[in-house]
Amino acid sequence: MEKEAKKLYKSTKQKLSKAKRSYVCRSLKDVVRGYRNCKTASEERDFVKKESAHIRDLFREEDTTFRRQNVLKLLFFHMNGYPTEWGQLECLKLCASARFKDKRVGYLGLMILLDENQQILMMMTNCLKLDMNHNDTKIAALALTAMGNISTPEMIRDLLPEVLKLMQNGTPHLRKKAALIGARAVRKLPELSADLIQPIRRLLSARHGSVLLTSTTLLIEICKYSPDLIPEMRTDLLPLLRDLLSDLLAAGFDPDLTVGGVTDPFMQVKVLQAIGTLAKRDQPASDSVEDVLSQVLSSTDANRNAGAAVIAECVKTIFKIESPQSLQALAMSNLGKFLISKDPNSRFLALSELRNVVKLNPALVKPYTETILECLHERDTSIRHRAVELAFAVADQNTLSRVTEEVLEYIEDCNPDVKEETCTHLVDMVDRLSSNLQWKVEIFIRLLKKADDYVREDLLDLFAALISSTSSVQGYAAERLFNEVLATKADAPIVASTFKLDRFAFSIFGEYGELVTSHSTGIRIDDVYRAYDAALSETMESVATEELDRATYEALLATRQVAITSAAKLFSKVVEAGQVGEENILQVRQLISKWRQSLDLESQQRACELSTLLTVELSEARSAIFARQETIDADDARKRILLPLTGTSSSLALLGGSSDLIGFGDDLAQLPAAEGSNAPAAQRSDPLSDILGLSSLPAPPKAEPLPLPGIESLTMPPPSRKSGPSAQVAGGSLLDDLLGPSAPRPASVEAARRPATTSSAASSVAKPEGTELGPLPVMDENGLQVSISLFKVGTTPQNETRAVARFLNTSQQKIERFVFLLSVPKYMKLHLQPATSTSLEANGGSATQSIGLQNAMSGEKSIQLRFRVEYTKAGQPTMQKQGVIANIPRDL
């Protein structure tokens, strides 16, 4: 009776589930097919929406019959980019089920769907713990697989005992998985390494194929993340690995393991890696593996991919450890074969490997220079990129000009993504290896002509500094730039593709032009005038805004501003030197004066200031103001250029290719970058703006603003510069006030700062586009005044705002240990630069601090700032003040 009832129950259940399946729930296959039958994207979306709703209903009903099926459907939708976070809990329910088939889908779902959702991870940890202790090894294996793919540090800490247990007592299938979890654990929590050494010994001595592979992986990770444990493992594990490798070399054909004629290349590569890490920087250990390494090189067939992989790894190992020259030579000959191979993979590999070798011993790579340069002509961007990196590293005095020519050719048609980097490397190399400054300038001009847009501003600064420091090249540079650039301006005034070159040419020529106009054979001053006349022609103003994008427009303005200053500077010096008569000054003044009506505020301001300076009354002050600027320290500019380069060339520059440093190259290479990044940002000067001679004149510590007739005096604290005070005191402070780049502007001028497109609405209430606000008073007490100005800079993205805070001490006592801090709400980001000074002298001592702000909700929420000020006055306790900076409009 009971039996019959059971049978009836069973058959009814089966019928029911069958009915459900056909009427209620579609199978995975049907869903995939249905999705694929959709013709348009919107059809697909509707389909997924409908199915998801159905699945959600079943989930809500706590249905168990179709849960597996439904989770798999969700995974399919997930793979096609639909949101499926709501399915995570269902996966967990499947994992908690007692059946293998549920768990299998459940863990798969978690591995695919899971992000760092903490709550789910915690519940998952419990599930994993139970399953790892399960008697059924298949279930334990599922748990290990899941943990190998998702493991947060907390999970590792909680489950390590279980993993260790399986690593030692499990079946080989479980042990190999547990070893890889160990590798992942070490990567995330290196302090666990010590616990894993003993298990590794046991795993390696077990000599089971897959277990050996994964425990070698674990060994490599331990060496990588806990190098202090290497000596302990070296003594017994290195001989073991060495024997393992020679066994593999001697083994015959095995259908399961032989790939491309090589027995278990995967294992060989891993063992070679492990040997490399264990024998690194240890002479006896290196000697002990020498034979087996040369055996690998001689007995492996490099024609197939697997063999090439083993040889590549072996070469890597040889250069990692303390190997003798004969072995290194053998390795190099193998790389040489790769380099001329027909297979692009081998060539790529050879270039990557040579990049490592060149760090250790450039002499080994130098014979291959020609072959490397040939690779620059390939069509494959991966190979070309590698080759150019290597070319930079391998170049020396003898090959410099050849490499430079090739790289200049390469830059013309290389991938735009790497152009900027390549330009920087090229300049770095040329600067490093050549002492011929004329040649350097020549190359730089050619580079600017080829890739103007991609040359970093720092490089312009570097060359400005180099030229300023060597008087013999100043005339040459000015002449070359005039002939190459300025002389052509009559035909093509200022074009977008050569902004940087133009700017560079104008600034250098303005500074040193009089050296080449003075000789009878030099440049005729009429030509010079014509060039400036063309560059500053008024017609450009109308072209400017309509067709150009904002960045280009800004660059155009910047170039023109430089041209205006350059013209004034050059002609005042030429006249002073008596090369031409005083009437020329007036001519140039006329040229500049046109720009007093410019719609660009900066141009307008400069034109006003300079045309005032060019009047007869101020001719005395002029000579001091326009005097040749001091030498700029090129090393400062170099440091900034080297800063982001961690590649081969900069590290080489430091290593100087000395061979006694072999093996320590990697560590040393970090040094220049670290040094550079410690340099306080406040100390960085800007040599290119300096070269215009206007803002660079050092100001005395106590700068009293001198009002200049006709121009509103603006209070701008003197920027902190490295150079000391000089004799030109009066002129210096005068001009500092004039051209403080971020000085607050009077409201009357603000109205004129509208781009031409909006000029018709000049009198309406429309807000100016180049928004600027301030200075806003932040606080004023005890003689300490703090104000802040905010402004948008044209080239920065919409959501970025810059700010400058100014601090002024009007009291009788010196303010010391001054700190100004800001805080912003979560939707904003803040970059606070150090202040120019932490102490403010009594009676007018001042300092500034620049601030970068990013507003992720620009347009929706306004910038909100809280500030905090701390300072001490002589003999008094530390003062503090904090508060809110209010009234910042939304569009900033």
């Binding site: 992000d115 760092e116 190998g148 290349p265 992989a309 060539r347 961007t381 990129h385």
Partner: protein, 156 residues
């Protein structure tokens, strides 16, 4: 170590994606979008490696599918290429002449096999036998064993 493993077809549709690092969904989509453009546009005779951001991409084209894997800069590219091939060969053995459609309709099985070959971005096994055995055993307990599987697995 591998950062991720992808199977993408020539139209850029993802057929399988395995992430060995906790990337957010947003990052995943971004990577997929950028990589597919990048890899698919490369020409036949170019090498199988691309440096992209801070990883090396190793890819290989199998008929309509691209297998792409991202590895650390100091990993061995060539052996990674062989690992890709090991996986594809195992799939081929499992499905019996695998094609894109097999993977579309049985993506979960493709994942099960991948999970037996790679774990946490490292190679688990250097032969096809053990992963296949594990996959068949799992199938025998959970669903239908593929018909071309060895007879010993058809227990049910």
């Amino acid at each position: 170590m591998m950062q991720y493993f992808l199977l993408v077809n020539r139209q850029g549709v993802v057929r399988l994606a395995k992430w060995f690092q906790p990337y957010s969904q947003k990052d995943r989509n971004k990577i997929l979008r950028e990589i597919t453009n990048f890899v698919i546009t490369r020409q036949n005779k170019m090498c199988n490696f691309v440096e992209w951001k801070d990883v090396k991409l190793v890819y290989k084209r199998y008929a309509s599918l691209y297998a792409v894997v991202a590895i650390d800069p100091d990993d061995n590219e060539l052996i990674t290429l062989d690992m890709l091939h090991l996986y594809v060969e195992t799939l081929d053995r499992y499905f019996g002449n695998v094609c894109e459609l097999d993977i579309i309709f049985n993506f979960h099985r493709a994942y099960y096999i991948l999970d037996e070959i790679l774990l946490g971005g490292e190679l688990q096994d250097s032969n096809k036998r053990a992963p296949l055995h594990a996959a068949y055993e799992g199938d025998a307990l959970a669903e239908k064993v593929p018909e071309y599987a060895p007879k010993s697995y058809h227990r049910k």
